[in-house]
């Protein structure tokens, strides 16, 4: 049993609608080492959201196995609570509850998991401090900008100290400048906490800037088309975007996705 944090072996997922069966994911094998930062990129409809929801056991796979910390997640029973506590899920839209203040939103997982110990509350406040939301922590989410709401979304998924962060196109809805800003902040968080991050994105620059490895997905059926290692120096910063090696990786990835799209049209 390799020491991979998450291992997906021969994963398949079929969705049966009234008219036809859609093969969302076929025979996907993926591995995420502890502390790894891996991106999944591909056109819409290639099953990347399905895969991330299968890891989090929101969706049960039709066949294939999922190992988290070496322990097999049974396809029949619900995932045990202690394993769920290891995972933080970050959504595409900020998904803040407008009826709670920012601080209450961030502490929601603590209330659901029943972590009453004041030490957890201090941890939540530290996270709020870290992302500069301190003076807005009693504001309501509707009064915040898109960037700040998504920052709150990220730390909400980390407040119960999970080892794994599953991020489903977290910065997709933000404008370019805020997205660059949040990419850097995410890198700082990742470096400081050493969490395993599974990062879904549409943006090639984002994938190359952030991750060690990138899985390129094809569509109908959703499958892994390629796995590209990105060995750019760490720590990474904005200056990197202008360097040639960065542009090289971007072209490689864009080319690879281009081929996928072409094969999709044929």
């Amino acid at each position: 049993m390799s020491n991979a944090k998450i291992r997906l072996v021969g994963l398949n997922k079929l969705f049966h609608t009234r008219f036809q069966t859609i093969e969302a994911v076929r025979n996907v094998d993926m591995e995420f080492a502890a502390g790894d930062f891996v991106s999944i990129i591909g056109p819409s409809g290639c099953g990347k959201s399905t895969i991330i929801r299968m890891i989090d056991d929101l969706i049960k796979p039709t066949s294939g196995e999922i190992f988290i910390d070496g322990r097999r997640v049974s396809p029949h029973r619900r995932i045990p609570p202690e394993v769920i506590r290891k995972i933080g899920f970050i959504f595409q839209q900020p998904n803040m509850y407008p009826w709670m203040t920012v601080r209450e939103n961030v502490m929601l997982p603590l209330r659901v998991f029943g972590l009453r110990d004041p030490e957890w509350a201090r941890h939540a406040d530290a996270l709020i401090e870290m992302t500069g939301l301190r003076e807005q922590r009693h504001a309501y989410p509707t009064e915040l900008s898109g960037g700040s709401m998504q920052r709150a979304g990220v730390i909400r998924a980390m407040v119960h100290k999970p080892d794994i962060l599953l991020m489903d196109e977290p910065f997709g809805a933000l404008d370019e400048m805020t997205r660059e800003q949040l990419n850097l902040e995410l890198l700082d968080i990742w470096r400081a906490t050493g969490k395993t991050i599974v990062f879904i994105t549409h943006s090639v620059q984002e994938a190359v800037l952030l991750s060690n490895r990138v899985y390129v997905m094809g569509t109908n059926p959703g499958r892994v088309v390629d796995e590209i290692a990105v060995d750019l120096p760490r720590p990474r910063n904005l200056k990197l975007i202008v360097s040639d090696r960065f542009a090289g990786y971007c072209e490689l990835l864009t080319g690879r996705i281009g081929q996928v799209e072409l094969s999709q049209i044929k």
């Binding site: 900008s145 404008d175 370019e176 400048m177 805020t178």
Partner: protein, 296 residues
């Protein structure tokens, strides 16, 4: 599917004054400013003394940090908002108090959130401008079909907007803005709310449509790559109050402006330059004690 060589028939009805004189600018703004009265008696300056000339067949891109009044500027050009100070002129005719309603026939406006009427099907949404301009006569059905073909949605005529994806809704919104054949097309971050791949695809389609239709286009955007791909002239506004901080012609040759624009040397230089300018402006905005609210 490419609709490049699609022949565009002239409209059965000729909009007044459409014989464009090539030389002078079609639309000019002279020291146009916009004040919003705040409750505490003070005034909020959104746009400060912008002077701009829009020439025929020109594609202008307006860049600027999130809160720079660039949307307000575009709304003033489109007659949605009245400027507080300064005059505007359309084909030589001077207007003290913004573009009057009867002249808005020459303008098409594309909003950031597609702004389609949910209770109307796609065809009916396209009929809306024709009905408002009282020209929903005999030629309108073909005109609408033509516009839908132009944006590649000819089979989606009687579908309701909520059944379409974001990208498709934005294409319908673009078709609706052009259905009454306006001379000037104003677009307020048309691709802002779309995901990266659809956005890239639609920006190339916008380029194709602008070359096919030869219309004057003014686009507000916060994406520098889009501005370089589409814009003949690029302006950068300062943070609030919005003032023209930088203006430059985009000298990337037309044939280089396509999918492979990344390799073009001039593109890299201009991108770095614009990157610094826009970042400098948003930095100035932030240090001046204003956190980014939803961009005005």
């Amino acid at each position: 599917m490419n609709w490049c060589d699609h022949k565009l028939s002239r409209l059965p009805f000729e909009p007044p004054g459409s014989g464009m004189d090539r030389s002078g600018p079609i639309l000019t703004l002279d020291k146009v400013s916009k004040y919003y009265e705040a409750q505490n008696g003070g005034e909020l300056l959104a746009v400060k003394e912008v002077s701009l000339g829009v020439r025929d067949r020109e594609f202008i891109c307006i860049l600027g940090p999130t809160a720079s009044g660039k949307s307000t500027l575009l709304k003033m050009m489109g007659g949605i908002e009245k400027p507080t100070l300064g005059t505007m002129s359309l084909r030589g005719e001077i207007f003290e108090d913004g573009i009057p309603a009867n002249k808005l026939r020459n303008f098409g406006f594309v909003f950031q959130q597609d702004n389609l009427l949910p209770w109307r099907t796609v065809v009916k949404n396209l009929r809306l401008p024709l009905e408002v301009f009282h020209s929903a006569g005999h030629g309108s059905a073909d005109r609408i079909a033509e516009m839908l073909t132009l944006v590649g949605l000819q089979d989606y005529g009687d579908v309701y907007p909520h059944e379409l994806s974001g990208g498709m809704r934005q294409r319908v919104s673009l078709a609706r803005a052009m259905v009454h054949d306006p001379d000037i097309l104003l677009m307020d971050q048309p691709l802002g709310a779309l995901d990266a791949i659809t956005r890239r695809m639609l920006s190339h389609e916008l380029l194709r449509i602008s070359r096919a239709t030869r219309k004057v286009m003014v686009m507000v955007t916060n994406n520098i790559d889009e501005a370089l791909l589409l814009g003949d002239r690029i302006l950068v506004l300062t943070a609030l109050p919005g003032e023209i901080a930088f203006e430059a012609a985009n000298d990337i040759p037309a044939e280089a402006r396509n999918e492979a624009i990344i390799e073009n040397a001039r593109y890299k230089a201009l991108r770095a330059l614009l990157d610094d300018i826009v970042h400098a402006q948003s930095e100035a905005g932030r240090t001046a004690g204003r956190t980014g609210g939803d961009g005005e």
